[in-house]
């Protein structure tokens, strides 16, 4: 067996016997992503379902003069509360302090104005800086508009005018997104977690085989042996890669299971994580394991102790998935130059796969840059092991 094979076999055996490495690769990393993803997603999905269904409470001032309006709001699941605030100032204070999402103030002159045919005034008391109140505000506004339109239609009809004359435009929306495409926003998060889990799965091994070996004093005698430094380093990186690749596989599988339990269908989304798509995702993401193994090994090889290595690898772990956050916030279409960016290229291709579409094979070829970066880091580590600084 070549020295590379000897090192690979030894480091694999060593890591498999290390509970810490095993736990983070096989349990922690692959489950952390899907569980967090499920929590976030089901929260987001429930929020969307809730918005339309749950009744909301709205404090009202001078509500006595607008009984018809109040009963209209009641039919739209908006329960008004006459008692809670005595005057407008108290209501405004409560809204500013976010104790109340939204309030409604009826003009004292409301009844008479309505009877005269003048615009009857109502105020929505809201804090635009309060994001969580936004759905309640828009529901109240929609219900009020609806009430006003209803009266307008009746008035025109009473005067013998066709109410549709007052609506010269009918604006409709034709939503052409497929159900899968709609779920992409949520599943965009998935690639982030996949990349993160991949890195997490092998980082422990990367640390153990480099900084850990150094700290325990096992490195120096090793360097006096006939095996070349390149064989030593590539054997170590190989095991880190294997841990990352296995971690990725488990993570994809647990995602495929997790999405089955998400109420995606209730908001008109389906996620197509069929076995075939999962295999596709795995093959597209695998090059990232090469990068991860290279990056984590070189980072850990520059540290002297386990603790120091943990600090620096955690910093390094944040960087690779950063481009994904950028495109989730500011969506882009897949293009050839973007495939040069590791992690972004994997994200864009996985997104296409999840949408049920295919990507340009040329994109896959260009994304091999990711492998090149990993190999580059490996070569840099070999250089470092050839130098004397590794012993100091």
């Amino acid at each position: 067996m070549s020295a590379l094979g000897v090192v690979f076999r030894k480091e694999l055996l060593d890591s498999l016997r290390e509970r810490r490495s095993l736990l983070s690769a096989l349990l922690l990393a692959p489950l952390f992503g899907p569980i967090l993803f499920m929590l976030i997603t089901s929260y987001a999905v429930n929020l969307q379902i809730d918005e339309a269904e749950q009744p909301i409470d709205v404090p009202i001032i001078n509500g006595q003069g607008a009984e018809n309006l109040v009963s209209h709001l009641f039919r739209r699941q908006i329960d008004v509360d006459h008692e809670r605030f005595a005057d407008v100032d108290a209501l405004r204070r409560a809204v500013r302090r976010a104790e109340v999402d939204v309030g409604l103030v009826i003009d004292r002159d409301f009844g008479e104005a309505l009877a005269r045919g003048d615009p009857a005034r109502v105020w929505i008391v809201a804090d635009r800086a309060n994001n969580t109140a936004r759905p309640a505000v828009s529901r109240l506004r929609a219900a009020l508009n609806e009430y006003g339109r209803g009266i307008g239609v009746q008035r025109l009809a009473l005067r013998g005018v066709d109410p549709s004359l007052a609506r010269p435009l009918a604006v409709l929306t034709d939503d052409v997104s497929t159900p899968s495409a709609r779920s992409v926003l949520l599943l965009g998060m998935m690639t982030y977690f996949l990349l993160f889990s991949t890195l997490l799965g092998g980082t422990q091994v990367a640390i153990d085989t480099t900084a850990g070996e150094r700290e325990r004093g096992s490195l120096e005698p090793l360097l006096t042996l006939a095996a070349s430094r390149a064989e030593l380093v590539w054997g170590k990186i190989g095991v880190t890669f294997l841990f990352m690749a296995v971690s990725l596989a488990i993570c994809i599988a647990s995602f495929a299971i997790a999405v089955q339990f998400l109420p995606l269908a209730e908001i008109g989304m389906t996620a197509s994580l069929t076995p075939l798509v999962c295999v596709g995702i795995y093959l597209v993401m695998l090059p990232f394991s090469v990068l991860g193994a290279g990056v984590m090994t070189i980072v850990a090889s520059y540290t002297k102790s386990f603790r120091e290595a943990q600090t620096f690898t955690s910093i390094a772990m944040v960087a690779p998935p950063l481009p994904i956050i950028l495109v989730v916030l500011n969506p882009v279409q897949p293009s050839l130059p973007l495939m040069l960016v590791p992690s972004l290229s994997q994200h864009l291709m996985v997104t296409e796969l999840v949408k049920g579409q295919t990507f340009d094979p040329l994109h896959l070829a260009v994304s091999a840059v990711t492998i090149a970066v990993g190999v580059g880091c490996g070569l840099a580590t070999v250089r470092r092991y050839r130098g004397e600084a590794i012993l100091v």
Binding site: D14, L222, T224, L225, A226, A227, E388, L391
Partner: protein, 248 residues
């Protein structure tokens, strides 16, 4: 056979070696003696091919360590200062890993591992994981690792540091046995008595240069001291004066 001439080595501003010369013959135990920071470890690390000298020549078995380090590594067994085993591997696995990295494989590897396990009495704990080993057990496995490929040269850097009496004794036996097999043994220490008991030849280094090189008797004569420890102190003091003058 180890031959060293005029080795110098600098780490940044620190001049670790200012011209160390020594020779160690086959079938002899050579002790490298000196106070802490004298340059013992640096000299041995250059001989082990893990550091490169700035100037000077170091040859083991006639091969220049700077020119063909891989060839040198095949012929040496090394026990570095503060070295450790792989805790998750058994004694046998630790030894076999080193044997494989020295190029042994198949039946030859198995035989070599068995032979050294038997010779160093590792049998009773050969299949236990190294994590819980006692000092003596750890030392014996570390020695077995260094000796499994039957090197012609054995280099030990402060091997007795932190060892208890029993472990020191075991080590001494192994060193003597290797010498009798014709091995060239070079080991460093800062303990005079240890070197005096074991070594056929003593090299005293201080301040990065060789101060005295000879047998215990020759050193006594050279320094004019009857007691070897006094001789050591005198030699080191003269070296310090010399280096102070050189710096001044």
């Amino acid at each position: 056979m180890i031959e060293v001439e005029g080795l110098t080595k600098r780490f940044g501003k620190v001049e670790a070696l200012r011209g160390v010369s020594l020779s160690a013959a086959d079938g002899r135990i050579t002790g490298l003696l000196g106070p802490n920071g004298a340059g013992k470890s640096t000299t041995l690390r250059i001989l082990c091919t893990i550091l490169k000298a700035d100037s000077g020549v170091a040859r083991i078995g006639g091969v220049d360590v700077g020119e063909d380090p891989v060839a040198v590594r095949r012929t040496i067994g090394v026990l570095p200062h503060n070295s450790n085993l792989f805790g998750n591997l058994s004694a046998r696995e630790n030894i076999a890993y080193y044997a494989a990295l020295q190029g042994l494989d198949g039946l030859a590897l198995d035989r070599a591992v068995e032979r050294i396990i038997e010779r160093l009495d590792i049998g009773p704990f050969a299949n236990r994981r190294a994590k819980g080993f006692s000092q003596g057990e750890r030392l014996r496995v570390a020695l077995a690792r260094a000796l499994v490929h039957e090197p012609a040269t054995l280099i030990l850097d402060e091997p007795t540091n932190g060892l208890d009496v029993m472990a020191t004794r075991d080590l001494r036996d192994v060193i003597l046995e290797r010498r009798d097999d014709g091995c060239c043994v070079l080991f460093s220490s800062h303990i005079m008595q240890e070197v005096a008991v074991l070594c056929d030849r003593i090299v005293i280094v201080a301040g990065g240069t060789t101060v005295v090189d000879g047998s215990a008797d020759e050193i006594r004569v050279a320094t004019g001291c009857d007691d070897l420890e006094d001789a050591f102190v005198a030699a080191v003091a003269s070296a310090d004066d010399a280096s102070a003058q050189a710096d001044g």
